[in-house]
Symmetry: C2
Subunit: 454 residues, 2 copies
């Protein structure tokens, strides 16, 4: 054991990481950009994939629980779909019930990093998921549920997993547990981890070494970088430290504590078949008014995955969402307007979310049109700093897409903040994402995108 | 709105707070020590209190749920006692069930601070709770469940509450949500908050202005400073920053993330009457072998509280516990050996706990004697830096006491750490306690005590 790494050295260590990551975000890597495009075209064409919708009774290895109607895997592992009754004193709707995906295990989302030619590279994967738009998307080195990596499905082992579990084989740059969609998942959490190795690690044909800058640049292509890669990227300590912020971090934490204490949201598991207003057909569980989403089932054939074929339920959103930050400079420093948002699946109360996060179609004729949505949608092209449609988790959701935007506000936009909103710097978000349950998954995607702006 | 508090200024702000708190920890305050003793004797004698054990059927305003046997308040508020089934792959016992107190509301534990004669003082309260040893203990300015402060009991309003809720009336020094006993409470959390006021605030006769140093010194008296005061004190940013630590904070967070990811502990609510091995008598719910604790009921009369009398259930531990840090200097800096501990009531997986935390009587004849317990109990008086018996939450537990110890290890004590243990500096614990769910309530009491040592 080596002694005495002083905190001062920790800080310069952190700064070294930030500087390396920034350099990696601007340097030419070992993989030229056109080589990426070539590889991507090959990988997208290489696999033989098929995803077909099936009726619930055609699910193999899954059953409907006789008492509750919940959809469960026969092993009791992976995930299940049950019902959730929600009550809250926050927001316009005080009480509802819905189907929800429950997945209590903490999975691993890991990116293996390595300095090549003096520049930090990430080992990225071309990975197929049944719910992905285009099926194959750019994914972390490892993306595995606990059931996956303990091989409940008895498939082949997961490549590169050994760098992330058990005895540490490299320097850990990022390691935190983060929430995912709290409206669709009940208490889902994943470990986001980046390990820098010094070993010689050959890239399997489904994998490619890219710099952080290359991955961040690829975020501007629709439906290319998957959600799991985005959340790990967002945790990388790229931002410089010590920059001016409108509010101290202590003030931000106190504001969030106030909201977490003042409002309650209780979420109680109920049998899926007792969820009111939802109906079960032969191949779909849906709301009578067809709003929000439905639950469907698919059969998957994929010769590049750990098992060659399987069936599973998927959550199918009925509309595209919008997730947007309003952004501005305050005394020269870039700030974004963050919303404290409560979702029933969150472990620890409100989390920091984009300024706007909604499915606009749900509010077309509503009194409850989300605040700032019109500012986002009406912004002229000169104010739109980022605008890309990206897919959410393709292993659980089918074609779940959000339009991610960063919109600069005019100089005369009011600085005054409504109760649930605060202006934060990108650095403050980066500082908070070291810890669990502060920054929600949509805000983390935007945080990764912000790295391509400033 | 004022603009641009740069992070640099934030840091010097933090340092100013730390310096003020340290000064307050060493300065003479406006209340001489002997005046405290006088006041304390008066307050302890002043009230007319009676706590009598009653049978469950004598509880007023409480009922036994007909289907589950759970003990509930008729309002559905305050707290309830139900059953919990636990399964885990961590530790020697893989599965058990037990009664548990469920209290989903986030209460307020608030200390009002004010600079008097240039020195920061805390407004401390002499407060009676039915489960307290000596009944009256030194408590925060405000200690209130949400049901309390929204006045479900229709009692008198809570003094000084206005400083902690609604629009902020002072500078916030501390504001974080923290867990409590995860073996006895299911997901219990309280907001720990310190507000520095500049208003002229007269002290009601049950309240006294004391410096941080005076309160910390009073921690050395058995059963005087209550748990709620200790946890708020522990969150005060007293420690100096930037001092040498064996592990960087990033390494500590990664170690905790690893444990939180590797092990699972699922806790499922079950009906109280279906908890195996536990029995219900007329005035006691207890384990057949009389181990651990029982649930009893009391009738309380107290002319100093918001309501003059009430009945309630209490959890009665059968033995005194031990909570101890092993401590040593590493390269000159004080470190304590912290344990990552899983308890079924925790919201977010393992938390940092004392080196030893147990009831020794439960292990008298056991193969599973807790690690380091013998080192703690056998230490000679020259190695015992702190040794006081303190009470836990007297509003929910009856005479729940722990012997809190800080024990210095010999120079030849191995630095090597078992998987679940790490040496941390006091500064690192102080940094972590800004956030939720890192440092458990027993470790927070010891953290407050450590301020009296170094």
């Amino acid at each position: 054991m080596t002694l005495g790494t002083p905190l001062r050295r920790l800080r310069s260590e952190d700064l070294r990481t930030a500087a390396e990551l920034r350099r990696s975000a601007t340097s030419q890597g070992v993989t030229p950009d056109d080589r990426f495009d070539q590889w991507w075209a090959q990988r997208s064409a290489a696999g033989s994939f098929a995803v077909d919708r099936v009726a619930f009774h055609e699910l193999r290895g899954w059953h409907e629980h006789p008492a509750t109607g919940d959809l469960r895997h026969d092993s009791g592992k992976f995930f299940q779909i049950g019902g959730l009754a929600v009550e809250t004193d926050h927001g316009p709707v005080g009480r509802w019930a819905q189907p929800i995906i429950t997945q209590p295990e903490i999975g691993v989302l890991g990116i293996l990093a390595k300095k090549i030619g003096g520049v930090l590279h990430c080992l990225m994967q071309a990975k197929m998921e049944p719910g992905n738009v285009n099926l194959v998307q750019l994914s972390p080195t490892v993306q595995a549920t606990r059931s996956n990596y303990t091989r409940v499905h008895r498939g082949s082992p997961i490549r590169y997993l050994e760098h992330f579990t058990g005895a540490r084989r490299g320097r850990v740059l990022v390691d935190s547990i983060q929430s995912e969609q709290g409206s669709w998942f009940y208490r889902k959490r994943n470990r986001n981890i980046v390990v820098e190795t010094e070993e010689d690690v050959p890239a399997h044909e489904d994998f490619l070494w890219l710099t952080v800058g290359q991955v961040v640049e690829l975020l501007r292509r629709d439906d290319l970088v998957n959600m799991d890669a985005r959340t790990v990227l967002s945790c990388m300590p790229i931002a410089a430290t010590g920059e001016g912020a409108l509010h101290t971090t202590g003030e931000v934490l106190s504001w969030l504590t106030e909201i977490r204490s003042r409002y309650t949201m209780t979420a109680t598991a109920i049998p899926l078949r007792e969820v009111p207003v939802w109906r079960r057909g032969a191949d779909e569980i849906y709301r009578e008014d067809r709003k929000y989403f439905s639950i469907q089932a698919v059969s998957v054939r994929a010769d590049t995955r750990e098992v060659p074929g399987w069936t599973q339920p998927l959550l199918v959103p009925h509309h595209q969402g919008v997730a947007a930050f309003l952004a501005r400079r305050i005394e020269g420093r870039p700030h974004v307007l963050v919303q404290a948002r409560m979702e029933p699946g969150y472990v620890n109360g409100a989390e920091l979310a984009p300024t706007v996060q909604c499915m606009p179609a749900n509010y077309a004729d509503s009194r409850y049109r989300p605040r700032y949505l019109d500012e986002v949608l009406a912004a002229g092209p000169d104010r739109v700093l980022f605008d890309t449609v990206l897919s959410e988790e393709g292993g659980r959701f089918f074609h779940a897409r959000n339009r991610y935007l960063v919109v600069e506000v005019p100089d005369d936009f009011p600085l005054a903040e409504p109760e649930d909103y605060r202006w934060l710097t990108v650095d403050q978000l980066t500082e908070l994402v070291r810890h669990s349950h502060y920054v929600n998954v949509q805000a983390r995607t935007l945080l990764a995108c912000l790295h391509s702006l400033w």
